[in-house]
Symmetry: C2
Subunit: 342 residues, 2 copies
C-alpha cells in the first residue's frame, strides 16, 4: 500500500480539504450530545445535556451552572514516545485543565496546523489516540480546523486543543489553607523523563504518565481546597503557584518524595532538577488534614502511588525538609528549563 | 528605548513567562462577566450572565440554551497589511464563525505560538488589535496559552482562537429554500485582494474587509434561512456548500456581482478567480423573497453595498447568469487556490 504525504492542497479549503477532514472525522466517532451540523461550529443544547447524562447514568443529578473554558497549544518533539504521542497529551492536557478546576469537560475543539509532506499515516495515528481518550472519558471532539502550511513554516505538526466544561463549585489554586496537607495523585515527572530518555536514546522502563484525570478528580473534588496538574514547569512551578496564590507555605518531606528511582536517575544523569519535570496525567492538591486519609484511599483505587507529600503552614514559598532536617527552597524554574517538551 | 525580542525563556512556564503573559493580559482589558481566577481556565456563571446583559441593555430578555463552540488556526503572511493584522483576522474570524450560526459570542480563547526572536512590539501590536475588536464587540478574551518555540520551528507567529457562544435558534448552511434570494452583506474578496496587493507591491486603495459581524447578523438573524462568511475558498466555496447542504441551485446574476473594480483588476492581473477571494468581514445568506427588501434595508445601515446577488431554485450547484444570458458553473475551488493568506 502506498503511503501518502499531506499536500498543501489538503488545507486549502477545497475538495481535497474536505476529503482529509472527512478521514479525520471518521476516526473521531464519539460525539456525545453535540450536534455537528457541519457548520462553522458545533452545537450543544444545555438543557437536554444534563437530562441525557443523568438518564445514561454518567452522572447523578447535577445543576452545574458555571461554564469553564481553556486552551493549550502543543508542539512536541518527538511526536511519538513511550506511553503516548502529541495527540494524547493534547487531549489529556485540555481535559485535565478543566478537571483540576472541578469541571466536567463537555467538549473539545481540535485545531491542526500540519506541515506539507507530513506522513498521513502518522496524522491518522495521532487522531486515533485522541479518539481513544475521547471515548474513554466520554468527552467528544466537537469542532475543529485543519490547516496545511508550506514546508518550513511549521515543524511537522502543531495542535491546539480548547475545551469547555461545566462545574458547580470551582476548585481554585488560591484555596489552600494553613493546616492542610499536600497530596499527589501518583509519582511525578515521568512524562519529561520518558521524553528525555527517548531523545538521548537512554534505555529505561519509564513511560509518559499522560492520561485523563476526570474520574479520579471528580471522585474527590469536594475535599480538595486547591488542585493543579504539574505540566510545564513541573511540581516546582505548580506548588509555588498554589503557595503564592493561597498566601501560605508548602513544606515537602524528602522521605515521601513522589519520584520513581528511574526518574531520579535521569534527572541526575542530565543534571536537570526533577521538580521541574512535567507530568501529563497527575495532579497535586491540598486537602484538610482530617480528610486526607479518606482522599488518599479513594485515589489509590486509580493509582497505588497516591500519597501525602507535604504540609501547608504559615509563611511563603515551597520548601523541602531534607532527611537531615534542614529546609531547602524549591524555586519556580527559571530559564529554558528542560528541553522543550510541551 | 530598546526594542525587545521574544526569548525562548518567555515561553518556558517560569518567571519570564509570567512577565510576558502579564504584559499581554494588561492589554486585554475587557473581561465582561467572566471570572479569571488565574487558574487553567476561565469561568462564567451562566445564570448571572443573562441577567447582567439584560440589565446593561446589551440584549433584550433572551433565553438561549444552545452552546456553540468553534476554533480556527491562523498563519498569515504578511502579518500586518492594509486594513488589519493577524490578530484582527483571528478574533474576527472566530467571532464571525459564531455569528453566522446565529449565536451571540460570549468568550474567546487565545493561543499563541511565537518564534524565538519575534519582536515584542509586533506581538503587543497584534494583541492590541485583538483587544480593540474585543471591546468593540463586547466579547472578552477569557483564557489563553503562550508558547515560544526555537527558531525555525514556526514561521514568526501562529494564532489559534476558539470561541463559545449562546444561541436560541441555529442558522444552518442547509436551510436555503427554493424561492429564496441570495444576499451579500457587502462587496466581497477585499481581504485576499489586499493581501495579494501587499505581497506583490501592487498599489491599490483596496483594504482588508476584516471586521466583526455580530451586530449586523443579529439584526437580521430571524430572517436568514442560511448564512456563511466567505473566508477560505471565497464565495465559490461557501455558496457551493450552501447549495449542496440545502440541496438547491444558486444562480448569481452577473449584473449585480458584489466585487469592487479594484478587486476585479487584481483578480484579472494575477489570473486568480475572484470568486475564490476571501472576505474576513462579510457574509452571504439566503432569505425568503418577501423578506429580502426589509433585510437589505437593515444591512445597508452597516454597509451601503449590501444587496441581492442571486436566487435559489430547483437543481444543484452554483451558476453565474452572464450578461448575454448563458449560465456558467462556479465550482468549489480546487488546488492551492490563491497563495496562503489565512
Amino acid at each position: 500500500m502506498k503511503s501518502n504525504f499531506i499536500e498543501l492542497e489538503q488545507g486549502a479549503g477545497g475538495k481535497k480539504s474536505e476529503e482529509l477532514i472527512s478521514k479525520i472525522r471518521k476516526i473521531l466517532d464519539y460525539t456525545g450530545q453535540w450536534k455537528n451540523t457541519a457548520d462553522d461550529g458545533a452545537v450543544l443544547d444545555l438543557q437536554s445535556f444534563w437530562t441525557w447524562h443523568v438518564q445514561k447514568g454518567h452522572t447523578t443529578s447535577f445543576s452545574a451552572s458555571k461554564l469553564v473554558f481553556t486552551t493549550d497549544a502543543f508542539i512536541v518533539d518527538p511526536l511519538f514516545f513511550s506511553g503516548g504521542d502529541i495527540g494524547k497529551i493534547a487531549i489529556c492536557g485540555t481535559i485535565n485543565d478543566l478537571a483540576v478546576m472541578g469541571a466536567r469537560p463537555i467538549g473539545i475543539s481540535l485545531s491542526l496546523v500540519i506541515e506539507e509532506g507530513f506522513p498521513e499515516d502518522d496524522l491518522l495515528k495521532i487522531i486515533k489516540s485522541i479518539n481513544d481518550i475521547s471515548r474513554e472519558t466520554r468527552v467528544p471532539i466537537v469542532t475543529g480546523d485543519t490547516k496545511v502550511t508550506e514546508k518550513g513554516k511549521i515543524d511537522k505538526i502543531e495542535i491546539t486543543t480548547s475545551g469547555v466544561g461545566l462545574a458547580g463549585n470551582i476548585i481554585s489554586n488560591g484555596g489552600a489553607r494553613v493546616g492542610d496537607v499536600v497530596i499527589s495523585s501518583g509519582d511525578l515527572g515521568e512524562h519529561t523523563a520518558a521524553i528525555l530518555a527517548s531523545r538521548f536514546n537512554y534505555k529505561t522502563r519509564v513511560k509518559s504518565d499522560s492520561r485523563p484525570l476526570v474520574k479520579e478528580i471528580q471522585s474527590v473534588a469536594k475535599y480538595l481546597t486547591a488542585c493543579k496538574d504539574p505540566t510545564r514547569g513541573g511540581s516546582a512551578a505548580v506548588l509555588n503557584e498554589i503557595a503564592e496564590k493561597s498566601k501560605i507555605k508548602i513544606v515537602l518531606d524528602e522521605k515521601t518524595l513522589p519520584f520513581k528511582k528511574e526518574v531520579v536517575a535521569i534527572s541526575e544523569l542530565l543534571g536537570i532538577d526533577k521538580f521541574s519535570f512535567a507530568s501529563e496525567g497527575r495532579f497535586v492538591a491540598t486537602v484538610a488534614k482530617k480528610d486526607a486519609d479518606k482522599v488518599i484511599k479513594i485515589l489509590q483505587k486509580y493509582n497505588s502511588e497516591a500519597k501525602i507529600i507535604g504540609s501547608v503552614g504559615r509563611g511563603r514559598g515551597v520548601w523541602l525538609k531534607t532527611l537531615i532536617g534542614s529546609q531547602k527552597k524549591i524555586e519556580t524554574p527559571r530559564g529554558k528549563l528542560v528541553p522543550r517538551i510541551c
